[in-house]
């Protein structure tokens, strides 16, 4: 019976599946919803929603799906009779106002009720229009309209509240479509980690201890070793401003994931504009920072270099000549040469490009793609880039140890 509701939810981006359907069926069979819509709202929300970012979408789907059910199931005529019986006159209303209120006929009322229930987005007390309490609107409870529909109140009919609560859309602030895949990014970056045993030997090496004890003819010999520590060092440089603006959110997400990652031994982040001209900057405002020769001198070849940028610029911008401080100089090096210096220094380097792959064959992108292995800034592309960065790691590491 609630299957269409499931498809409504899926349409709104909630990944509900068979597991949730079975759970909900089980809960309903156990009678957890107490046979009213309110209970159903709470039970289905607990079982179908998995994160506060989905609560708003759930509320919207619930509203859209159960709005019709709601109004149709209200016993309108009976409600109306009940209301008339309990109706009290409001002493401060003028005869004209009373006459105005009496004009509404049941059909008209029903239509207006449904309309307003659809329009109304929040709880309402007082006033003369919305469904609520203590007002002169024909709809609501403890109000003063002559003919109207009572919603809620003493008769045990609690149907209205779930829709009211869903309609309030209190979780709109938690919607967060942006960070949906930070986890995927974090998982992709995790593959970059590598461990090395480093520092004071304070961890018990069980295998070695047993072997040593055995060699010692049973005399206990405890062997310790240094604990495993992360050993990946990353240099991350990002193009800012100009043509990169549309991708600012995506790139800053990558930056925040990378800086939160605890499995890097060292992470250096730098900024540049369009192309590297001798200097990498410490801030997005292009201040501070380090020159390329300094960077090459400071960090070893085993650092992994990740460049992020669209690599799209006017062709002449690749050949602007500057010195290491980024000042124009006719005998300086071309932008492309600076890039090549970086690419040559770091054994493992990648360029992540947010532009769609279809555009990579032409212009400055194709030039830069010959300098750096280029990958798309998508979750898949990031995964490929990470594989590229780590490839050959163990072989080289083993060779270095011997």
């Amino acid at each position: 019976m609630f299957l269409p509701f499931f498809y409504e939810l899926r349409r709104r981006g909630l990944k509900v599946g068979a597991q949730e359907a079975l759970a909900l069926a089980g809960a309903l069979r156990a009678g957890l919803h107490d046979s009213h819509l309110d209970g159903f709202y709470h039970v289905s929300r607990a079982l179908l929603v998995h994160s506060e970012t989905q609560l708003d979408a759930f509320d919207q789907a619930f509203l859209a799906h159960f709005q019709g059910v709601e109004t149709a199931s209200l016993e309108l005529t009976q409600e109306l009779l009940n209301w008339l019986e309990e109706a009290r006159e409001r002493p401060d209303l003028s005869p004209e106002e009373l006459a105005l209120l009496e004009q509404l006929d049941p059909e008209e009322l029903r239509r207006l009720f449904e309309e307003r229930l659809k329009e109304q987005k929040e709880r309402h007390d007082g006033g003369n229009r919305w469904v609520g309490t203590g007002g002169t609107s024909p709809f609501g409870n403890n109000g003063f309209g002559r003919e109207g529909i009572r919603v809620g109140g003493g008769a045990g009919n609690r149907q209205g509240r779930a829709l009211m609560q869903a309609g309030a859309r209190r979780y709109a602030g938690y919607r967060d479509d942006v960070v949906l895949d930070t986890r995927q990014m974090a998982v992709a970056l995790r593959k970059l980690r590598a461990f090395a045993r480093d520092g004071a030997p304070d961890e018990l090496d069980v295998d070695e201890s047993i072997a040593a004890t055995a060699r010692n003819a049973g005399e206990l010999e405890v062997v310790t070793r240094p604990p495993r520590r992360p050993n990946t060092r990353v240099v991350l440089a990002m193009d800012v401003g100009g043509s990169m603006d549309p991708y600012a959110a995506l790139v800053s997400r990558l930056f925040s994931v990378a800086s939160q990652a605890t499995h890097f031994k060292e992470l250096r982040t730098y900024y540049f504009h369009n192309c590297v001209y001798g200097k990498l900057y410490a801030t997005p405002q292009l201040t501070g920072g380090i020159t390329v020769p300094e960077l090459v001198a400071q960090v070893g070849r085993h650092h992994k270099l990740v460049m992020v940028g669209d690599a799209s610029m006017a062709p002449y911008e690749l050949s602007i000549r500057t010195d290491a401080q980024g000042h124009y100089k006719t005998d300086g090096l071309e932008g492309l040469t600076w890039l090549m210096q970086l690419a040559q220094h770091f054994e493992r380097n990648v360029w992540l490009n947010p532009e769609p792959m279809g555009t990579w064959r032409t212009g400055t992108i194709s030039v830069i793609a010959r300098v750096f292995p280029m990958f798309a800034l998508t979750v898949e592309g990031l995964g490929e880039a990470v594989t590229h960065l780590t490839r050959g790691r163990t072989v080289r590491g083993a060779a270095a140890r011997r």
């Binding site: 597991q19 759970a23 957890l32 709202y41 607990a46 209190r170 960070v179 986890r183 018990l204």
Partner: protein, 282 residues
């Protein structure tokens, strides 16, 4: 799902007030015997919920505080190799019995308990990214095998599992699918009044009104880096009561503001807004 659904319904306790959506979530978790994942602002009573459930159902509570170094294995059992090595060296006790050196973790303890227990896995997001995935099978089947002995630990009674998260890391989908989810809203004024009543019975109603008013005004203050939460309000009122404060006004002379605001910048910005640059006494 072998056992009959529990007929018990959770309604909160004398000191833990609930909302009906929270009750529905807890009851779903109880009936379907699934873990309950609770999220919400810090200080909204996520951890206390587990204690309340244990109290309401009359079960023992086992807590597992997750830290950044916690591994899933730690929750099941720890094999004390060093102790066994030492014992073998000094001939203390029977080292042939490996079971003597297997100590159960919180999860193992909950499984092997003779009666049903409430297991709280606190702040699951503090641990490593893969931590929840490593627990999937154990929480699903409520059993695990001790590799050293080949013994299988099977839960006699599926424990009521409550998991809290502060959203520091996102949890994997496969894990989320198995949980009943609840997001604890920040209480509205009405519920907050009841909560204050429960914790400070017989409090001067004028004072509690004023305290609530100040509290919500502070919370609506958008410049705050960390908004004060329920537990901080309760503490603050306790201090006010202990110091015999009877009258409150939201201005620069607000007493014991340090109980509500925990960040230096917040104290400064409140002082600037209400006190024309003067620091409140904290």
């Amino acid at each position: 799902m072998s056992q009959a659904p529990t007929p018990v319904r959770f309604k909160g306790t004398d000191t833990y007030l609930t909302h009906e959506s929270l009750q529905a979530a807890v009851n779903c978790a109880l009936t379907l015997q699934r873990p309950l994942l609770v999220k919400g602002e810090p200080g909204t009573g996520k951890t206390l919920l587990a204690e309340a459930i244990a109290e309401a159902l009359g079960h023992r509570l086992i807590t597992w505080h997750v830290k950044s170094t916690t591994r899933a294995q730690d929750g099941l059992y720890v094999y004390d190799t060093v102790q066994r090595l030492y014992d073998s060296r000094f001939n203390d006790g029977d080292v042939r019995d490996i079971r003597k050196y297997i100590r159960q973790g919180p999860l193992g303890e909950a499984f092997s308990s003779p009666e049903r227990v409430v297991l709280l896995i606190d702040e699951v997001d503090k641990a490593d990214l893969e931590f929840p995935n490593d627990l999937l099978h154990e929480l699903d089947r409520m059993r695990f095998r001790v590799t050293e002995t080949g013994d299988e630990v099977v839960a006699k009674h599926r424990p009521v599992v409550v998991i809290t998260s502060n959203n520091e890391k996102e949890l994997p989908d496969a894990f989320l699918r198995r949980c009943v989810f609840h997001f604890i809203d920040f209480p509205d004024t009405e519920l907050m009044r009841r909560i204050v009543d429960v914790h400070h019975p017989g409090l001067d109603s004028a004072l509690s009104e004023q305290a609530l008013k100040v509290f919500y005004e502070l919370r609506s203050f958008t410049r705050l880096r960390k908004k004060p939460s329920t537990s901080e309000l309760i503490d603050w009122i306790a201090v006010l009561k202990a110091q015999g404060v009877h009258d409150l006004k939201l201005d620069e002379q607000l007493p014991f503001l340090g109980a509500l605001l925990k960040k230096e910048q917040d104290l400064v910005s409140v002082a600037e807004a209400f006190g024309r640059g003067r620091r409140p006494r904290a």
